[in-house]
């Protein structure tokens, strides 16, 4: 069962929560709506379910416009962030709820309900706790019950609103793998909302990245991660360092440091923002026009990788670098020391609006005023030589 959303908008007062969004979800696909809070992803999900009505645009579920259909009639399974399990009912009754409220002629027999509910509880591995009440369960178990309850009505699509948002990190990881396996088994068209890029990258077939009520990019996880369409997508997916510079005939210049930007070869001169992921910065022995100098402030060991926090010598901006642990050990770095950093891979975006948030993957929705004019273009801009081992 497919979902087609075309040109859907929703305003709350003067605030455009969802602004002319179009999205197609193919039958059997698992799509993540990813974005910061307030970016409109949950509102879109709720409109697909019928819990919210769009101001304009159409929503088509398996070929049928659902504009006039209430939540009850849409046959969607909806899973809430905080589970929304009925506290006064056992797990069994929670899962059976959707079957018991059916009109008499559509309602399965008691024996039928029993076997269907037990099958679902088995599927979520909670059949032995059928007689328990929700408050006697852990968060992960509750969310599995909520999922079983949503599946009990045999929905055409499954919608999940931040399904793992209220769980701790370990359970969250476990549960999302479990959800992926489950989806591979039952192939139910599913859409889930998340603000956690790792979750979206790991679970989804495709990701739609939301920002300020619009979709910035839709694509497979690898595609959005490796080829972000916009500056926002780049900085939202994973940690990143952000540099201000200018781009001129295929080369970006960050106050003297040259970075390849061949995709902008036809741009004569424009302010640009350069993003470099922490693992795409190399520490080199000698300075060149492709590197810049920085002071090491601080190192943090995070399991197999070491994160270095540095400050640029010329601009004073903070920079983050991630190295594998053995490599870090070879380099023999000391806090306060001078290092030369060379971007191995960078994404350069023409800075049209200057409205993207701060670097390093933090989210900031505020409208940032136009920043200081970019430094003068380097007179002899040259393409960057590929990095050699230091």
């Amino acid at each position: 069962m497919s979902i087609q959303v075309s040109n859907v908008s929703k305003h709350f007062g003067p605030f455009a929560a969802v602004d002319k969004v179009s999205l197609e979800v193919g039958s059997g696909e698992l799509v993540a709506l990813l974005g910061p809070s307030g970016s409109g992803k949950t509102t879109l999900l709720r409109m697909i379910a019928g819990l919210e009505l769009p101001d304009s645009g159409t929503i088509v579920l398996s070929g049928e416009d659902v504009a006039g259909r209430s939540v009850q009639q849409r046959a969607v399974g909806f899973v809430f962030q905080h589970y929304a399990l009925f506290r006064h009912m056992t797990l069994f009754e929670n899962v059976a709820f959707g079957l018991r409220v059916r009109r008499r002629e559509l309602r399965p027999s008691d024996a039928d309900i029993r076997s269907r509910v037990m099958r679902l509880l088995e599927m979520v591995q909670l059949d032995r706790l059928a007689g328990r009440y929700p408050h006697q369960l852990s968060g992960g178990q509750r969310q599995r019950v909520a999922l079983a309850r949503a599946l009990a009505i045999e929905p055409k699509v499954l919608l999940l609103d931040e399904p793992f948002g209220a769980l701790d990190a370990r359970v969250r990881k476990e549960l999302r793998r479990w959800l992926r396996r489950l989806h591979d088994e039952i192939h139910l068209t599913s859409v889930f909302v998340t603000h956690d890029q790792e979750e979206a990258l790991e679970v989804a077939d495709r990701i739609a990245v939301f920002n300020k009520g619009r979709i910035e990019q839709v694509g497979a996880p690898d595609e959005v991660y490796d080829h972000p369409a916009t500056a926002f997508v780049h900085q939202f997916l994973g940690h990143t360092n952000r540099f201000q510079g200018v781009v001129s005939r295929g080369v970006a210049n960050i106050s003297g440091t040259h970075v390849d930007a061949h995709e902008h070869a036809d741009v004569a001169h424009a302010p640009a923002v350069v993003y470099v992921r922490p693992h795409d910065l190399d520490i080199v022995a000698e300075a060149s026009n492709a590197s810049f100098a920085a002071t090491l402030n601080h190192t943090v060991k995070l399991g197999p990788v070491v994160r270095l926090e540095l400050t640029r010598r010329d601009g004073g901006e903070p920079v983050e670098v991630e190295l594998p642990r053995p490599k870090f050990a070879q380099l023999d770095l000391v806090p306060g020391g001078l290092v030369h950093l060379k971007p191995r891979r960078a994404r350069v975006f023409i800075d049209e609006r200057n409205s993207t948030g701060p670097a390093r993957g933090t989210i900031d929705d505020r409208e940032v005023p136009r920043v200081t004019p970019a430094p003068a273009p380097h007179p002899d801009a040259q393409p960057v030589v590929p990095a050699r081992a230091a």
């Binding site: 909806f78 009925f86 709820f97 409220v101």
Partner: protein, 280 residues
């Protein structure tokens, strides 16, 4: 040293606090109540039985218990609606309406009684039109009921309100997404959630109604066998210096209301127990 095993508490002075609680309850509640029992024991069994089974006393007990239960039940229904409207809807003057709910708490009961009888008397604003419809409120059991509904309303509204406020919209949305109709959402999700609070409110309103005196006696007319409430019987006996007779009736009333309150508490305990909540 203490032989009581108890879990470690963040607040010190368990012994002191418990001792204080028992002393306070004894002074404020138990001693006055036991005085009523002790005074009653000055009667012989026959004269006690004779006093409490007098037709006039029995009629008043029927009226007091019956009207209090009925008023609490009516308040349970309409108080639930009032609480629902106050919690779920935003309308101009909502805060004012919210404050009006508390008036029966704040008003001296005699003032309420006089106001009610002025309105429901044959010459009053409502009494006249109702009379022409053949409904007589003042000086009848119906008047007693009206007064008890009046004083009991805030108990229901104020106990349900916080529960409704805490109840997330998500529960209703979840139920609707599973196909439940509005009535099913109410009867299967909302009502069971507020039921414990509703029972508490019912109990409070009932207890208040049973002991209510000031607001009832003006509108009731106090006709023996018809509209005379038990508290009035007790006061009448006191005025006739029949202290033992007064306490005898009081003891019967006390036992009756204790039995009812105990039953409601047991029901609540059973509901919680069934949900396995007593351990949390």
């Amino acid at each position: 040293m203490s032989v009581l095993k108890r879990p470690h508490s963040v607040l010190p002075g368990f012994g002191l606090a418990l001792g204080y609680t028992l002393l306070y309850l004894t002074l404020i509640v138990l001693i006055p109540l036991s005085a009523a029992f002790i005074k009653t024991f000055s009667l012989t069994w026959e004269s006690f039985w004779h006093t409490v089974t007098a037709p006039r006393v029995l009629a008043s007990l029927r009226l007091s218990f019956g009207a209090s239960l009925l008023a609490a039940a009516i308040n349970a229904v309409f108080g639930l609606i009032v609480a629902w409207v106050l919690v779920r809807y935003r309308f101009p003057g909502r805060r004012l309406v919210d404050a009006v709910v508390d008036l029966p708490f704040a008003l001296p009961t005699a003032v309420a009684g006089i106001a009610l009888s002025a309105i429901y008397a044959t010459s009053g604003w409502l009494g006249g039109p109702l009379e022409s419809l053949g409904i007589k409120v003042a000086y009848t059991p119906l008047g007693v009921l009206m007064a008890l509904i009046f004083v009991g309303l805030p108990f229901i509204v104020r106990t349900i309100q916080p529960v409704l406020e805490d109840m997330e919209h998500e529960f209703e949305e979840a139920a609707r997404s599973l196909g439940a109709t509005s009535w099913q959402v109410f009867s299967r999700v909302i009502f069971p959630t507020v039921l414990p609070a509703l029972l508490t409110g019912f109990t409070l309103a009932f207890a208040r109604g049973l002991g209510e005196y000031g607001s009832v006696i003006f509108i009731a007319g106090n006709m023996p066998m018809v509209s005379e409430i038990t508290p009035l019987i007790i006061v009448t006996k006191l005025e006739q210096f029949d202290y033992a007779g007064a306490t005898a009736v009081a003891v019967v009333m006390l036992l009756g209301s204790f039995a009812l309150l105990f039953a409601v508490n047991a029901l609540q305990w059973w509901m919680r127990h069934r949900r396995g909540e007593e351990r949390s």
